[in-house]
């Protein structure tokens, strides 16, 4: 019993140990640090992924604070994959720009640990700790290019706004604890609503939602997103837009599943409004963007709106749709920002859309990755995004949210325009976009893997969908 108790946190241990080892290597083995550190980081992320995939899932452990069931494990695997991909994309990128030190790799692993904690927390305290670990690490990662003003500005912006949102979240948790007397998430949210605790419960939940809305950049808490995504180095943006959003959304999914029917009845209209607003504003604002990273930022905002729409169906079996789309979304955005990273020259980021003219012919594979990711984000076949969108709309309509689904469909129609615009620039215009130096076989390999996965999931989604529906049904019991 004791053994398996420790075994279930092997992913956490390997990430934490990897991070500490990297800092040690940076401090004591200065001469060979640049060789050892990436290998260490890669190995510990891989170890985390493998251990979370292979060790039998357990129940809530550690005084009921940490859930190690199938749900948490599934997300732990996703975060390990995201971390691995980010490491691969940033390997050359960071070295060429001179920020490949121990702090970058170590902090990246700690951020991954934070994500796993957030998605696996069954206790408010662990959730809060995980989120703070994640956020603090991200502040550092965004500012990784110390001599780049845009990067620093982005980090400061994320820090200031993130702290405020964190404050709301903390206060919300405190209020929830005060009202329900439970720090256990499912027990607290699952408690029945009475006349006495109604005001407190709703106040607490609303405050928590402000914090969460900031982290997954729902409209109207989204204003930081384009600036931060644009300022941060592209591999970090990939990590930030996928990992942190998926982690917080996984937590939100857990809250929604646990919440009592009466509590949910109050939350659903709020989610309805947020989802509609996010889908509309995200997509419409993206139309006007002239920079690829900003365009992708608004697109990722809109994507969260679609997922939130399906989250409303969570009490009617919509949870597996949400989980499936989160996994697909992680792949798509990782691929899109990863493509920006491998298409960027040595000195600066390739951000202006005009710089991508004719890129499809100069770098067919890397631009192809970007194109497939954009097609997937737009929801066109034969990509995973097509199945994902279908699953989301299916869940929403099945649960009776027809009007919201129609809003989503109209927003998706608008979105097709800006995705096609990028496609037109990549393949239908000619220009001197310049040849990008080789960015290493690893980055291209990761890109190919994402591309292959997106197409594979678009054609045979069944195994993943079945696995997810088993995981979700284990969680709701």
């Amino acid at each position: 019993m004791m053994d398996s108790g420790w075994l279930v946190i092997l992913p956490h241990i390997s990430l934490a140990a990897g991070g500490i080892l990297i800092f040690c290597a940076g401090a004591f083995m200065r001469r060979r640090a640049s060789d050892i550190i990436p290998v260490l980081a890669f190995a510990s992320a891989a170890c985390a992924g493998v251990s979370s995939a292979w060790i039998d899932p357990g129940g809530p452990g550690f005084l009921g604070m940490l859930d190690s069931g199938g749900f948490s494990r599934f997300f732990a695997v996703i975060f390990s994959l995201i971390t691995l991909m980010t490491l691969v994309f940033s390997h050359h990128y960071a070295r060429d720009r001179g920020f490949a030190g121990d702090e970058f790799y170590g902090v990246l692993l700690f951020a991954a640990l934070g994500m796993i904690l957030v998605a696996g927390a069954s206790h408010w305290l662990i959730f809060f700790l995980g989120l703070e670990l994640l956020s603090l690490s991200l502040y550092v990662l965004i500012a990784a290019r110390k001599n780049d003003p845009a990067s620093n500005e982005a980090a400061l912006k994320y820090f200031v706004m993130g702290s405020v949102a964190g404050g709301f979240l903390t206060f919300g948790i405190a209020v929830l604890y005060a009202v329900t007397g439970r720090m256990d998430i499912s027990a607290g949210l699952g408690s029945t609503m009475t006349a006495d605790n109604r005001a407190g419960l709703l106040l607490g939940l609303s405050l928590v939602m402000v914090g969460i809305g900031f982290k997954i950049s729902l409209v109207p808490f989204h204003l930081w997103t384009p600036d931060v995504y644009q300022g941060a180095p592209a591999p970090v943006t990939a990590f930030l837009s996928t990992g942190s959003k998926v982690a917080v959304f996984a937590a939100l999914l857990r809250f929604s599943l646990c919440s009592h029917e009466a509590v949910w009845a109050y939350m659903a209209p709020l989610f309805w409004g947020l989802a509609a607003l996010t889908m509309i504003v995200g997509n419409v604002t993206a139309l006007a963007q002239t920079h690829l990273k900003r365009l992708l930022a608004y697109s990722s905002i809109a994507q969260m709106g679609y997922v939130l729409m399906a989250l409303l169906a969570v009490k009617h079996g919509g949870a597996s749709a949400v989980v499936f789309y989160l996994a697909v979304y992680a792949l798509m955005d990782l691929g899109a920002f990863g493509a920006v990273a491998v298409l960027s020259g040595e000195d600066r980021e390739r951000d202006d859309l005009e710089d991508y003219r004719g890129m499809g012919y100069v770098h067919p594979w890397r631009a192809g990755l970007l194109a497939v990711c954009l097609f997937s984000l737009a929801g066109l076949p034969p990509t995973a995004g097509f199945i994902g969108k279908f699953v989301l709309f299916h869940a929403a309509i099945q649960a009776g949210y027809v009007a919201l689904a129609l809003v989503g469909i109209l927003a998706a129609i608008v979105s097709v325009y800006y995705y096609l615009r990028v496609m037109g620039i990549l393949y239908m215009r000619t220009g001197e976009c310049g040849i990008v130096p080789r960015t290493g076989i690893l980055g291209d390999g990761a890109g190919m893997m994402i591309l292959a996965l997106l197409l594979l999931l678009g054609i045979v989604p069944s195994p993943l969908l079945t696995a997810i529906s088993n995981i979700v049904s284990s969680l709701s019991h």
Binding site: P381, H394, I397, A405, I409, Y417, R421, G424, Y427
Partner: protein
């Protein structure tokens, strides 16, 4: 005798060939030959199905079906079915699939491998639409055919190609996403009634819907299909797309993509929502007839030959819609036959205009005149297809049009009479085209050759088919007769109750 997944082979063989072609990026000629080989093999497969299967089954039922589980959690299956109607349409598809490769042989010289990849994957999408019997699978192919077309117009098109390509996709997506909502809607309703979640067309036919819901669902399906057809007034993407597309793109658009719209109306929209369809019949007739008149009227004013043919295309499709809306055995047979006829005639006209464009580098009617004296053989072909387009007896279009109009006369005499008058308008603009371009003073500054051997190879099959269908349409009509009777039997009664 027939391999179990023959239909899948037919659908995915072109895509496979397309992927192989991509490997020959630096060698244009192997690309062309491999594509031609793949497309010919596909046609051979389909023709062998025709020759073998037709003897075995004389009835109008499904000749070959294929059914495998695909996405179990949602009740989606990978199911395909072939009946006479789809057989006829996939024969057209694979025939035009070969033609477009031949047409582009000298016309497309840049990014040849990519071009052929898109041509072949396009064919996969269209074949899938004609064969899918699971609604989700159908929707997948329906969306899939849009993507290659976007690139074909956008990369190899003329001056305003990007605008036209984006417009094409936006129109299509708007229709199809709303259809997606309705599609999920009917599945959910059917599932909650029977407890069995299925996307199969056969399961969903006969789902009892409240009339309000049924009207909305039908409207969403119809919008998606009407945009593709294109039905007046959602046709405005078509002239742009045709004008900007390379010849191969125009042939695929006119010959295949537009057919998926009318095919889907009679395969999915009417059978799934019969009483709503019954209510919509007058609207469809009015829109179809307005299309005939409007398109002919606009065609009269066109100075660009490609645009003129594009508008004539809208007019012909309008008549097909009239035939579908009348929904009896005669008009449906006529409409299906007319889909084939339109695919042959309009494609041939686009190819001829493309050949002129290749020689003179202009599509403006005012730049031409007296072609007959310079290029007699070419002009002969042009005249033949123009005569076919305006419905000269003895040629293919006459048979389809007469079936549609006579059948419509039985149920809606007024519509048929108006339709006849529309045919007269077609006569005017086609004769004007011929007069302006082929007769009159020749332009002495040209030095153009008559058609080459390759071009003759393209045009002769078209000419033979046009004449064959015109003189002896029975083999084609026999093919669709059974399925059409089933459609009328199953959907017709329910439609009438709706119209009451």
């Amino acid at each position: 005798m027939i391999p179990a997944n023959l239909l899948s082979l037919i659908i995915f063989l072109p895509l496979l060939g397309g992927l192989v072609v991509l490997a020959f990026r630096r060698h244009p000629n192997p690309c062309r030959w491999i594509s031609l080989g793949t497309a010919s093999m596909d046609l051979f497969l389909i023709l062998s199905v025709y020759l073998l299967e037709i003897r075995v089954h004389q009835a109008g039922d499904w000749l070959i079906v294929e059914d495998t589980s695909w996405i179990e959690t949602l009740g989606i299956r990978y199911s395909l079915g072939l009946d006479g109607i789809s057989l006829l349409l996939i024969m057209l598809t694979s025939f035009l699939g070969i033609i477009v490769i031949l047409v582009s042989w000298t016309q497309v010289t840049s990014r040849v491998a990519l071009f052929h990849f898109f041509l072949l994957s396009m064919q996969t999408g269209v074949l899938g639409v004609f064969l899918a019997t699971d609604l989700f699978l159908f929707y997948l192919f329906w969306e899939l055919q849009v993507v290659p077309m976007f690139f074909i117009i956008g990369i190899w098109g003329h001056e305003k190609r990007i605008h036209a390509a984006v417009k094409f996709v936006l129109f299509s997506i708007t229709g199809s996403l709303l259809m997606l909502a309705a599609l999920i809607g009917i599945v959910v309703v059917h599932g909650s009634q029977t407890g069995h979640y299925s996307f199969s067309l056969f399961d969903l036919v006969g789902t009892s819907l409240s009339s309000n819901l049924e009207n909305w669902f039908f409207a969403a399906f119809l919008l998606a299909f009407a945009v593709k057809t294109p039905l007046f007034p959602v046709h405005t993407w078509l002239p742009d797309a045709h004008t900007e597309a390379p010849t191969a793109g125009s042939v695929i658009l006119a010959g295949l993509l537009l057919k998926t719209g009318t095919y889907a109306i009679l395969r999915f929209a009417f059978p799934l929502f019969p009483s709503a369809a019954g209510v919509a019949v007058p609207v469809l007739m009015v829109l179809g007839l307005s299309g005939v008149f409007y398109a002919s009227w606009i065609a009269l004013a066109q100075k660009d030959m490609k645009r003129l043919v594009a508008y004539s295309s809208i007019g012909h499709m309008g008549l097909i819609i009239v035939g579908v809306a009348a929904w009896n055995a005669m008009t449906l047979s006529g409409s299906v036959l007319q889909m084939i006829n339109h695919g042959l005639t309009t494609s041939a006209l686009f190819i001829l205009v493309g050949m002129l464009d290749e020689r003179v580098n202009s599509r403006q009617l005012s730049d031409y005149g007296g072609i007959w004296r310079k290029m007699p053989v070419f002009s002969g072909f042009f005249l033949l297809f123009c005569m076919s387009s305006l419905g000269l007896p003895g040629l293919n279009n006459f048979v389809g049009e007469i079936l549609i109009l006579l059948g419509t006369f039985k149920v809606q005499p007024a519509a048929a009479v108006i339709g006849f008058m529309g045919m007269v308008l077609v006569l005017i603009y086609v004769l004007r085209l011929i007069q302006d371009a082929f007769f009159g003073e020749p332009r002495t500054d040209w030095n153009v050759r008559d058609i080459t051997g390759r071009e003759a190879l393209i045009l002769v099959p078209f000419a033979l088919l046009v004449i064959l269908i015109g003189l002896y349409p029975h083999p084609f009509l026999d093919l669709v007769d059974g399925p059409v009777r089933n459609l009328v039997l199953e959907t017709g009664t329910a439609m009438n109750t709706g119209a009451m």
